[in-house]
């Protein structure tokens, strides 16, 4: 599987940090801040894996995840969900909607890299 990731997150400094880490690890990184444009961007950029924050403007991470899983073309797309630490409900909900993996905020950079690698089998 390729190493093209779409990061959907609305905090500019988190985007910048993750983009830096992943680019150095050899990933092609696209980013998006508005949940409402998620599906259109996914269809256009066709990422191999998605990093999806829960709380987003426009459309929540859960809603985007539901849309993805309802679309046969993206039902299997690996999704790494960013949840709040200690929020078991967030995690349970993400699991129910079909998240492939979770990382709790605040996270260690190495965990993000390791999780993505595991998701694409590289």
């Amino acid at each position: 599987m390729g190493r093209h990731v779409l990061l959907i997150e609305d905090e500019p400094n988190i985007i910048e940090a993750i983009r830096f880490i992943l680019t150095r690890d050899g990933w092609q990184v696209d980013t998006l801040s508005d949940g409402a444009e998620a599906m259109a961007t996914i269809r256009r950029t066709r990422p191999d894996v998605l990093i999806l924050d829960v709380m987003l403007p426009g459309r929540s991470g859960y809603e985007i995840l539901q849309d993805l899983r309802a679309d046969p073309e993206y039902a299997q797309l690996p999704v790494l969900m960013l949840t709040a630490r200690g929020q078991m409900r967030d995690r349970e909900q993400a699991e129910r909607y079909g998240a492939s993996r979770f990382i709790a905020k605040p996270f260690a950079n190495a965990d993000i890299v390791a999780a993505l690698r595991a998701l694409v089998g590289s």
Partner: protein
């Protein structure tokens, strides 16, 4: 009934539990069956010698038969049993349990009391934390800043060959996020501490007004008289009314209070209620006024115990005066089954309903609800609706079927409710 007079009942209960016939117990204790029958029905007092004999045959202490266990202890044990019905506790043997294992019984009762207190705390905190938009937004802000700081700091610490431009950029990000974090933490501490500064937006103005009214007992004596001057001094002197917005709301509230008091003077209202009861429609006819002023006046009657909730067309609660046992949500939406919302669907139709509030011990209330539309912009303008529900603590008709309601879904134990909009925290063991 006095404790001593229940001794016969306890003897009977204990005998039945042990499966002994009346005649057998009587014979063993040296009395006739008919005399024991009179004792068991509390028609004869039992002397100490006979009591000792009966207790000996029944295998219990004399105290168990004379005093029973303490009423409060039994009540707590019954509450514990009701809260754990799935375990099928032998609720009919509660006195026996308390009598035979007094230490265990006290421990169980103490746990039950502690659990009840914790449940109340959890309900309050959960209601507050899950529905408080300020707290939710602040936590999100803090978490985002912490995440950015940790990730950025990690990059700076772990990347040896980082380019100078990137290093400078990440340093700037760190500074910005640290400032955000400090501001968010300060605001959270102020919220948790309760020392919310004026105009910070942390406490809603409506909350300030409600805190002030609760402090006044919802009754403003000054506004009952002709000499009332608008209440500016009252408002300025109220420590609860910190923000300008709360001052404005309180001023509006007092103006309305005064208008209501003029239309329905306190002494006349008291007389009317004692003569005709608290039916708002009858009172509105008597005072030639609308139902809403009557609702408000009844709710502010000193020591009436009546509750009142009002909402606007969106269903948002705009006024809350709780009645004992009828808890009102502090944040977020209330139970959709309240007659208040039925009234909202049927403007100008008066609704009278007996409701049963969910709880460990369900409590019944009589509710009057009404929705009043108004057209401040004229016929072509937007209709503005206000609904209100008056809550009377004791419905006069115990046999009337009651509509089952709760406070809000999040803290409601009724899992089978078809109007439920979100899971209850009570499903997770509370």
């Amino acid at each position: 009934m006095a404790r001593q007079s229940l001794t016969g009942t306890r003897i009977r209960e204990r005998r039945v539990l042990t499966g002994m016939k009346q005649a057998d117990l009587a014979r063993a204790a040296g009395i006739s069956a008919s005399y024991l029958n009179l004792i068991e029905h509390n028609r004869r007092r039992v002397g100490s010698g006979l009591l000792q004999a009966l207790a000996g045959v029944l295998g219990v202490s004399v105290e168990m038969l004379t005093e029973g266990a303490e009423a409060a202890l039994l009540a707590d044990l019954r509450a514990a049993a009701q809260a754990n019905e799935a375990e099928q506790p032998e609720i009919d043997r509660v006195e026996e349990f308390a009598g035979r294992f007094p230490g265990w019984a006290r421990a169980t009762a103490a746990m039950q009391r502690r659990l009840s207190a914790m449940e109340r705390t959890v309900e309050t905190l959960s209601d507050r934390m899950t529905h408080d938009p300020f707290l939710s937004a602040s936590l999100h802000e803090v978490l985002s800043a912490v995440t950015a700081v940790r990730s950025t700091a990690g990059i700076l610490a772990e990347t040896e060959d980082i380019e100078p431009e990137w290093r400078a950029r990440f340093h700037a990000n760190l500074r910005d996020d640290s400032e955000r974090l400090a501001e968010g933490a300060e605001a959270l501490v102020a919220w948790l501490d309760g020392s919310v500064p004026d105009e910070s937006g942390i406490a809603a103005p409506q909350e300030e007004v409600e805190a002030w009214l609760a402090e006044c007992g919802y009754h403003i004596e000054e506004a009952e008289t002709e000499a009332f001057d608008g209440g500016a001094g009252l408002i300025d002197a109220a420590p609860e009314l910190a923000s300008t917005a709360a001052h404005k709301l309180a001023t509006q509230y007092l103006a309305q209070y005064r208008r209501d008091a003029q239309a329905i003077p306190l002494a006349a209202l008291r007389r009317a209620v004692s003569e005709h009861g608290a039916d708002p429609a009858r009172l509105a006819t008597r005072f030639q006024t609308g139902l809403m002023p009557v609702f408000r006046r009844l709710a502010t009657l000193p020591d009436s115990g009546f509750g009142l909730v009002c909402c606007d067309g969106s269903g948002t609660l705009t006024f809350r005066k709780p009645a004992d046992g009828f808890a009102l949500p502090r944040f977020g939406a209330a139970c959709p089954l309240w007659p208040l919302y039925r009234a909202l669907l049927q403007p100008t139709v008066p609704i009278r309903a007996v409701v049963e509030m969910a709880g460990r011990v369900p409590q019944r209330f009589l509710a009057f609800a009404y929705c009043q539309p108004s057209y401040p912009d004229g016929f072509g303008g937007v209709p503005v609706v206000e609904a209100a529900m008056l809550i009377l603590p004791a419905p006069p008709e115990p046999e009337t079927p009651a509509a089952r309601v709760g406070t809000s879904c999040r803290i409601c134990p009724r899992m089978d409710c078809s109007a439920r909009r979100e899971p209850s925290i009570l499903s997770e063991g509370f």
